[in-house]
Amino acid sequence: MELIIAMSVLAIAISAQLAVFSSSYLSISRASMKGTAVTLSDTQMETYRTLPYACIYLASASGDSAYTGDSAYAASQITGSSCSPNATPPTTATSASQTVSGPDGRVYRTDTYIVSTTPTGGRPLKKVTVVVREVKAGVVGSVLARQASTFDQAQD
């Protein structure tokens, strides 16, 4: 009898531990993905900080439902094809939606939104929002990281 009680107590404890380990694994894994996603969004945003103001645009403003369903999406995004006399920006900067491999080897999707905004009493700015989403088995999932900033031509 005593042994049964002891075994039961141990079973409960070990089950709880397994459950905690399992959820911890998932949590750590997700935190890892979010950390990687932040890195990717940083990289994307830094790309725009290196570009001349005229070169901050998207080649195409269209995307799938995940892209258009984001709060940052607007039908009137800033699009373009060149920014002469400056060098044409890299494809990574002009792609509205792109699938990239993170430093952890996982696949992520980086969505970029560029719209015009004008602060009160100021001239128009370009507002860039970068959203990184998880990709599971080829299916775009939830948002892991996002950040937004604005760009003025005085930065050129």
């Binding site: 380990f21 911890s24 890892s32 932040v38 009493g121």
Partner: protein, 490 residues
């Protein structure tokens, strides 16, 4: 006693040898250990999650703070577009939100062309705030525009069709530019002033036609150049321009090379937008430049001096923001002096009724949103000349004071009058009888049948279409190396 001790030892030994209940104790110990382990793992996991979240917040706060800097750049480049705001000027703290986060930005002008901007950004969770600083540096450049060369002609007609007719008896003694045909009739002449020779240019973009007995220059006082792109006709017969015995044109040399010179354009809407014409600031009396807030000729025709009966006034028009003086117009009914400074716009035509007689001082332009007309005796004399009835005594010296009257819808003069002004006309210029404009007359079409008496002006006053201008442009850029991150409380 000894037996008693042995019994106790025997009893303790027996209990120690009995293992009943030990399993539960061990289980509880192990469970306790596992609980501690679970707690540790949970704490680690939570901490990891928190750190990951803080990383995201940090990145988002930085993005918001950067946006604050850029918002400030966008505002400052507009509010201090000319770079003229004084040192110590500030951009008050302004809050904004971006993608769920919030931030503020403010700026102070720390030197002549440098603004120091600071901005904060707070993550959507409110847990992370980042503060950034940046310097905005201005570079100024000045671009100068030369005065239009049309003012080198005393009589400039921009018509591309038809014939500009000069029919008066008094000689036109200024350079003449007619973009299309020029018709001289009667005893009209274009001749060198005084005893000079070789100073006047006459350009005819079309055909020069002489009817009756007109002439250009004389055999002893030839003009400098004569250009007739379309050739010459005299008494309905084609003649060779350079054969002066036939054409009665005396010049050296002759030419038929076209010129691309065009009349400078007016931008009445821009002039109107530059000033608060509805609400002038008058230190003496009143004057109405505009009765509403639209450029619509709402005043009809304005008799500027009302035969010298207009009460004195001294009114200044400022820019809509009240910072820049656009123009000042004053009239002293006692001394009969008009004072002009800068650009004035009257939302209506301009007329000078009989016996309007004044002299003016200063340099400036009056835009009349309508026609300019005078039909009686009137004199507007430029310094140092003074009015004497319907004429001016003395010769106007444009270097001492000059007035341009810009007629946006034609100019018509008749009767005896003399205006020491520069006449810029959109539409037709007509001077008949003894009416004369002594400054250059620049018009789209023109008819002269009176005593033409034009002169050239070396420098036209400010506000004149095609006047020389100097524009200083300030270009703002971020000062390299000025970006820095500041400590925050969080």
């Amino acid at each position: 006693m000894r037996e008693r001790i042995e019994r106790v030892w025997t009893s303790v030994g027996a209990r120690l040898r009995d293992e009943r209940g030990i399993a539960l104790v061990l289980a509880l110990v192990i469970m306790g250990t596992l609980s501690i382990t679970i707690a540790a793992v949970a704490t680690f996991t939570t901490s990891n999650e928190t750190n990951a979240g803080r990383d995201r917040d940090t990145a988002r706060a930085l993005g918001v703070a950067e946006a604050g800097l850029n918002n400030a750049l966008a505002v400052l480049t507009q509010q201090d577009s000319t770079g003229t705001q004084p040192i110590g000027s500030t951009l008050s703290s302004t809050t904004f939100s971006l993608d769920g986060g919030s931030g503020t930005y403010s700026a102070t002008k720390t030197s002549g062309l440098v603004w120091t901007i600071s901005a904060t950004g707070t993550s959507p969770s409110g847990l992370v705030t980042r503060k950034l600083e940046l310097k905005l540096d201005g570079t100024q450049s000045t671009q100068s525009t030369q005065q239009s060369p049309v003012y080198g002609y005393g009589f400039f007609v921009n018509a591309t069709t038809g014939c500009t007719t000069i029919a008066g008896n008094a000689p036109v003694q200024v350079p003449v530019y007619v973009r299309n045909d020029l018709c001289l009739t009667g005893n009209a002449t274009i001749s060198q002033p005084g005893v000079t020779s070789g100073t006047l240019d006459v350009y005819v973009g079309g055909k020069y036609t002489a009817t009756a007995n007109p002439s250009v220059g004389t055999s002893t006082q030839k003009i400098k150049t004569f250009t007739a792109v379309g050739g010459c006709t005299r008494q309905n017969s084609n003649v060779i321009c350079s054969t002066s015995s036939q054409s009665k044109v005396y010049a050296n040399p002759y030419s038929s090379t076209p010129s691309a010179l065009t009349k400078p354009t007016t931008d009445a809407a821009a002039v109107y937008a530059s000033g608060n014409w509805k609400n002038p600031v008058c230190s003496v009396g009143t004057f109405t430049f505009d009765s509403d807030t639209t450029l619509n000729a709402s005043l009809g025709s304005v008799d500027l001096l009302q035969s010298n009966g207009r009460p004195s006034f001294d009114c200044t028009v400022w820019s809509p923001n009240g910072v820049t003086q656009i123009g000042r117009l004053a009239w002293n009914s006692a001394t009969k002096v008009i004072t002009i400074d800068g650009t004035i716009l009257i939302d209506g035509g301009l007329s000078f009724s009989g016996q309007s007689s004044a002299k003016y001082t200063g340099f400036g332009s009056i835009y009349a949103n309508g026609s300019v007309a005078t039909s009686g005796e009137a004199a507007i004399c430029g310094p140092p000349a003074i009015p004497n009835g319907s004429s001016c005594t003395g010769n106007w010296d444009p270097a001492q004071g000059a007035l341009t009257i810009v007629a946006l819808n034609g100019w018509s003069m008749s009767g005896q009058s003399e205006f020491n002004v520069i006449a810029y006309v959109n539409g037709a210029f007509s001077a008949t009888g003894g009416a004369v404009v002594t400054g250059p007359a620049i018009a789209d079409t023109a008819t002269l049948s009176g005593n033409g008496k034009f002169a050239t002006v070396t420098t036209v006053p400010p506000g004149t279409p095609g006047a020389a201008s100097s524009t200083t442009t300030t270009v703002w850029h971020v000062l390299p190396g000025s970006w820095r991150q500041l400590l925050t409380a969080s």
